[in-house]
């Protein structure tokens, strides 16, 4: 029975982590945006505004949950829950360190890719359930965008999978460091199996995987509805898009889902391309930096640092670039990213057959 108890504890721990990340994420986002726009950001609540998020949470918890009279009540109430659960379930298959993975599924990557698509359904549910034209426009834009960008994201992922030859996320992570059982080559010519570190990450295994990583990163921005792909909640056109009508705790849940999604896509990117929980420090001669800094505890540290770095990039991009128009968005996805991702997949096959 303790077997099942562990699962519950892990699930609760992941939820706690996601909630904590959202709290810090909101604060960081406000401070980063303030820094980029040459403002101060929240300053009043607590020293440097550190208590701002707590104050916001208390405000949200107090708010009345208003259901519009014309809304479809069942869909309206369940939509935020489904949006969040869709993202939260994705964390099941992600590895945190050597031997540290909630569920070691042999098709982990495919599972994560599948389970993320539930979010689209939740967003459509929210849009239709609100019975508000802005909500439904936002939901339709969001669904169209997510479906379009799933294709380049999927093919850039396939490019990695073809090189890694497995869908098990823990195995993919294992191949990118000193613990690898098969030979790791830096750009296909330099054997770095025992050197490890940054040199054995997937982005440096083949030149086209760098391109694949950029494609994946752009597509992941679109999948988490972040600027410059935030037309689903374009505040100057659609009020707030699909979550216009949500208040209080429901809105908090939508927000939680958005920040969890940011972390989830960053973490998948890190696992697939940036060495997962492997250390960036290589072994240099007698200084076995990679061997010293590889382990369960180190793994959590490295993957957190890398994922938070990618999340930081997402925030940086959000406050730097203007929003894309719908037609530009579709052009970018279908005419630029998709052919490039196909090309990456093709090169991956050739690379695996003849170079590796």
């Amino acid at each position: 029975m303790s077997f099942y108890l562990t699962y519950f504890i892990v699930a609760a721990g992941l939820f706690g982590f996601v909630a904590l990340f959202t709290m810090f994420g909101v604060y960081a986002e406000r401070k980063v945006s303030a820094f980029i726009q040459n403002r101060l950001g929240p300053m009043e609540t607590g020293k440097y505004g550190t208590l701002q998020v707590l104050a916001d949470m208390m405000k949200m918890a107090q708010k009345e949950i208003i259901i519009p009279a014309a809304a479809d009540k069942i869909l309206f109430v369940s939509a935020p829950v489904i949006i969040f659960i869709g993202v939260y379930l994705g964390f099941v298959a992600l590895p945190w360190g050597p031997g540290l993975i909630p569920a070691n599924i042999n098709i982990g990557l495919y599972y994560v890719f599948a389970i993320i698509s539930i979010e689209t359904l939740g967003i459509l549910m929210a849009g239709w359930g609100s019975n508000n034209k802005y909500s439904i426009l936002g939901a339709m834009r969001s669904a169209a965008q997510i479906i379009s960008y799933e294709i380049p994201a999927g093919f850039s992922i396939i490019a990695v999978v073809m090189v890694a030859q497995t869908l098990n996320l823990q195995d993919i992570a294992m191949q990118q460091g000193v613990l690898s059982v098969e030979q790791v080559k830096f750009f296909g010519f330099w054997d770095v199996t025992h050197i490890g570190g940054i040199l054995s990450w997937n982005v440096f295994k083949a030149p086209h995987l760098l391109v694949a990583f950029v494609i994946y990163f752009i597509a992941s921005l679109a999948e988490s509805n972040r600027a410059p792909f935030d037309i689903p909640e374009a505040e100057s056109e659609l009020v707030a898009g699909f979550h216009t009508e949500f208040t209080g705790l429901q809105f908090a849940l939508v927000f939680l889902a958005e920040y969890s999604m940011m972390f989830l896509v960053s973490m998948i990117g890190v696992i697939l391309f940036l060495g997962a929980w492997n250390t960036p420090l290589p072994n240099i001669g007698a200084a076995k930096l990679a061997d010293w800094t590889t382990g369960a505890g180190w793994g959590i540290l490295w993957i957190l640092i890398k994922s938070l770095g990618l999340v930081g990039m997402q925030m940086w991009i959000r406050w730097t670039l203007p929003r894309l128009r719908v037609d530009q968005l579709m052009n970018l996805s279908w005419k630029v990213l998709t052919p490039l991702a196909f090309l990456c997949m093709l090169i991956s096959g050739i690379w695996r057959l003849w170079v590796m």
Partner: protein, 184 residues
């Protein structure tokens, strides 16, 4: 009763119950969202049958693709057309429904016959292949075998399906093209 049996009955109940709600529900949108629950229950049943790949594929294709497409078609169609569909004036039991009842009854008879006469737990070919050792171990390598077989033994059907999808894609592109824009 073991845990797996309890889970099986739970999944089967969810699948059948939600499917009934989908069929009997008056509200079309809610039916579509209920269909999502049905598909998920079905995926759970696949997992219990040790077909993990099929279960995940079910979610990718049906939940992520087809269900969203159905919703798109629903939301893009006009309000009048939808109202006509949603209003069901006829009573459930009436003479005009007789052919439907007849067909459904026949189907039920056939299905019950199949279930009772097939003896699925002792099919001859299953017994033979177990005897001959022609089985796959459950060790998480199912997906590798599916991949290898799709690219070798079943390559022709695989390619034929891709051509079919290509034809559908070209057809859709042709239908949605603006008429008279590029005509000489």
């Amino acid at each position: 009763m073991s845990m797996i049996k309890i889970l099986f009955y739970l999944m089967a109940f969810i699948t059948l119950g939600s499917a009934l709600v989908v069929a009997a529900g008056k509200n079309l949108v809610r039916s579509i969202f209920m269909f999502f629950v049905t598909l998920f229950g079905l995926a759970g049943l696949y997992v219990l049958a040790l077909a993990d790949f099929v279960a995940v594929t079910q979610i990718v294709i049906y939940v992520g693709g087809i269900l969203v497409l159905i919703l798109f078609a629903f939301m893009l169609s006009g309000k009048e057309a939808l109202d006509k569909v949603e209003v069901q004036k006829n009573k459930f039991i009436s003479l005009s429904n007789a052919p439907a009842f007849f067909l459904a009854g026949l189907f039920a008879v056939i299905m019950l016959n199949v279930i009772f006469k097939a003896h699925v737990d002792q099919l001859p070919w299953v017994i033979e292949s177990v005897k001959a050792g022609n089985t796959m171990p459950i060790d998480g390598t199912g997906i590798n075998k599916i991949g290898v077989n799709l690219m070798t033994r079943y390559l022709l059907p695989f390619e034929v399906i891709s051509i079919l999808l290509m034809v559908a894609l070209v057809g859709a592109a042709h239908l949605s093209r603006r008429e008279g824009a590029n005509q000489v």
